[in-house]
Amino acid sequence: MRDQSQTSVEDARPARLPVVALLLLALLALGVPLISPALNLVDVFAFPLGYFMVAQGSLIALMLVGIASARWQDRRRRATDT
């Protein structure tokens, strides 16, 4: 069984579904590739934007969504602690 010391305030209360982060995930993973032919009209770092987004941009953006979501969850937890 899990060590009782690992139980935090966050663990003891109902969690909230990170809806905004999930919507951003869907947009980056499913939406951006579908519009990439249109995005290719613009260049970024010498890449066509649509290609760059699917090859690298969306991956980096997914990581940023993860960081923002984790920080938001941490702030919620600190607010509850205090």
Partner: protein, 634 residues
């Protein structure tokens, strides 16, 4: 607080023991690799030098297994170490070869795989890992059986996990077989069997401590194996040692070379897969289906739910998954560069109109292994290529783009040789991939063992039982891998898609929907997998009745329906016998090309299976009695 700060309640290995483990491991890997590279440089025969890399890979995998067995890194891990473990288990060696290969073969459309993998780890971080950690379960099978008690759910989850994890092992053993072939010069079956034996040995060495974060030790090696050749190439070719940026030059150069090849009739337009043009080899629906299938499959892949994510705080699990995402992104943003450099080197080879006798050595090295074909035959020698191309009739004295077929699964391994770099770099890739496959095979094996209810920590009897199960599963996987029925990326993606269709609705509802019960879970699993398998079987074997009944949903349009009606009339009018059989064959072939719903085919079937599974789970749960309070935690 920084994201990598120690977290409350986490079990972290002591600094001294972790330091000894990491230092010892790096010293072993570096010494072994340097020794083999020096021997190769001093003129040791190619067979001995390459065999040495194989031995180093086995030693590295063994060292990681030993580190897990001795719990040098402790049971849990800090987020950074846990994240490395998640990234390594996600890539699992097989995908290190497969993702660059998919981009090489499919161009833009191959990027769906990298995008789906990263989306899957983010999905895990957002909705699965923290709640899983809160549940107190030690593995995904344990969570499912705790939350949904009953034999039916247990048997169904066992079946789905076994099939999915076996597919993952098949992908890994295929990668290990390819590396073994290249290094040892043996046939694929022998190399795969040797890899399966080594993977079993690693599983046994780990003993009762099957799940640990030690696999994360391999991530720096994996990253270096891909990064070093790419940095050297980027610096040599474009003077910018940042592959993620420098390869934009290669993309444009490749486009120019391919346009020249078309003008000089050295390439067939039907064969071209432009790197920057979307949806050439798959439809947007298929692209979205692969991304969704990989994302939802990775988010609930049983092999990923081990020590770093289990029995810890929700915050720690979230941060472990976040670091795992970061490391996976770091690795996968390199994959397009690897694929582009390989494509450019090969396109340049064609455009230079090099004579068969002047072709670089790698063509024949991999040709003898059956991994490079020229004019439809294995490129074993210049004479064999000349003979095969002469038989085609329209080929000249040099190769055209469509004449040279390089197995996509070998692209990442062969890149240093294709680009003319030192052979030692191929050895580095081989060591990293083989060691990772062998070390991470423990994760899917552990998933199957735990879904059987065998506790490897329980005692000698159960431990021996787990070894027997692992041996049987590895033997079956080796047999399936030796068939080489599909590419590594297809096998690995199917593993994720099966997990997505069968487990994603169940795991998400187990964690977020208190009203979900065992009846609903069973219905969700049966419906998800049933829709997946049923749709695929109907498309392949019952295409005519499927199209007849659902023509309105087909992507074939009015022209497809019109031609189908013509063929159907021809079949009805044909005389019984060979003429009627031929008419039916023509009708069936056309029906298979148009019998789909909204263009959904193959891996994209998860677009149908997922909503069907969720719907069945929710509806059945709502019309059957609510679960008891104790079953609904967290």
């Amino acid at each position: 607080m920084p994201l990598d700060a120690p977290l409350d309640g986490e079990a972290v290995g002591t600094g001294a023991s972790s330091g000894v483990a990491v230092s010892g491991w790096f010293a072993l890997a570096a010494l072994g690799f340097t020794g083999v590279a020096l021997l190769a440089g001093l003129g040791a025969s190619m067979t001995w030098g390459d065999g040495g890399y194989w031995a180093v890979a086995i030693a590295v995998a063994g060292a990681v297994a030993l580190a897990a067995s001795l719990r040098w890194l402790g049971g849990g891990a800090a987020p950074v170490a846990g994240g490395m473990s998640v990234a390594t288990d996600t890539l699992a060696g097989a995908l290190v070869l497969a993702v660059p290969g998919a981009i090489f073969a499919l161009g833009y459309d191959g990027l769906a795989y990298a995008l789906g993998l990263c989306a899957g780890i983010l999905l895990m971080q957002l909705v699965a890992a923290p709640r899983f950690a809160q549940s107190g379960a030690g593995s995904l099978p344990e969570l499912i059986t705790q939350r949904f008690p009953g034999r039916v759910v247990g048997v169904l989850s066992l079946a789905i996990i076994t099939v999915s994890m076996t597919a993952l092992l098949v992908a890994g053993l295929t990668a290990a077989g390819i590396v073994g072939m290249r290094l040892l010069g043996v046939d694929f079956v022998t190399a795969t069997a040797a890899a399966a034996c080594a993977a079993l040995a690693c599983f046994v060495v780990r003993g009762g401590h099957a799940q640990s974060t030690s696999n994360g030790l391999l991530f720096p090696l994996l990253l270096a194996a891909l990064l070093v050749p790419l940095v050297i190439l980027s610096a040599q070719w474009y003077g910018l040692p940042v592959p993620e940026l420098a390869y934009s030059n290669s993309l444009w150069q490749l486009q120019g070379i391919e346009e020249n090849l078309l003008e000089q009739e050295l390439a067939d337009p039907a064969f071209m897969r432009p790197m920057m043009t979307a949806f050439v080899s798959m439809s947007p629906v298929s692209f979205a289906g692969i991304v969704l299938g990989l994302a939802t499959g990775i988010a609930v892949l049983p092999s990923l739910y081990s020590a770093p994510l289990a029995r810890t705080s929700a915050r720690n699990a979230r941060h472990v998954a976040l670091w795992g995402l970061g490391f996976t992104v770091l690795f996968l943003t390199l994959a397009p560069a690897a694929a582009t450099y390989a494509r450019q080197a090969i396109a340049t080879l064609i455009s230079d109109r090099i004579a068969f006798t002047q072709l670089p050595a790698w063509v024949f090295t991999y040709g003898k292994l059956g991994l490079v074909h020229a004019c439809g035959h294995a490129a074993t020698s210049a004479a064999a290529i000349a003979q095969a191309c002469a038989a085609l009739g329209d080929a000249g004295t040099s190769l055209r783009l469509q004449d040279l077929a390089v197995d996509p699964d070998v692209i990442a391994l062969a890149l240093p040789e294709i680009a003319g770099l030192n052979g030692m770099l191929m050895g580095l890739v081989a060591v990293a991939v083989l060691a990772t496959v062998l070390a991470t095979a423990n994760a899917p094996l552990g998933g199957i063992v735990k879904s059987l209810g065998i506790g490897v920590d329980s005692g000698r009897g159960e431990r021996l039982g787990s070894y027997a199960v692992a041996a049987v599963v590895l033997a079956a996987s080796a047999v399936l891998a030796s068939l080489r029925a599909a590419s590594i990326i297809d096998i690995a993606t199917w593993a994720a898609v099966i997990a997505a269709a069968g487990l994603f609705p169940v795991v998400i509802c187990a964690l977020w929907f208190r009203r979900a019960n065992s009846w609903g879970a069973a219905a969700g699993m049966i419906t998800g997998v049933g829709v997946l398998i049923g749709y695929l079987i109907a498309q392949r074997h019952f295409a005519v009745p499927l199209f007849e009944t659902t023509a309105a949903l087909s992507s074939g349009g009015a022209s497809g329906l019109e031609y189908f009606t013509e063929l159907q009339d021809a079949w009805a009018a044909a005389d019984p016998g060979p003429a009627k059989d031929a008419a039916w064959a023509a009708l069936d072939v056309h029906a298979q090309s148009v019998a789909d719903w909204w263009g959904i085919r193959g891996l994209a079937t998860v677009l149908l299976a997922l909503p069907a599974g969720f719907l069945a789970l929710v509806l059945v749960s709502l019309v059957t009695p609510a679960p008891r309070r104790m079953e609904t935690a967290p």
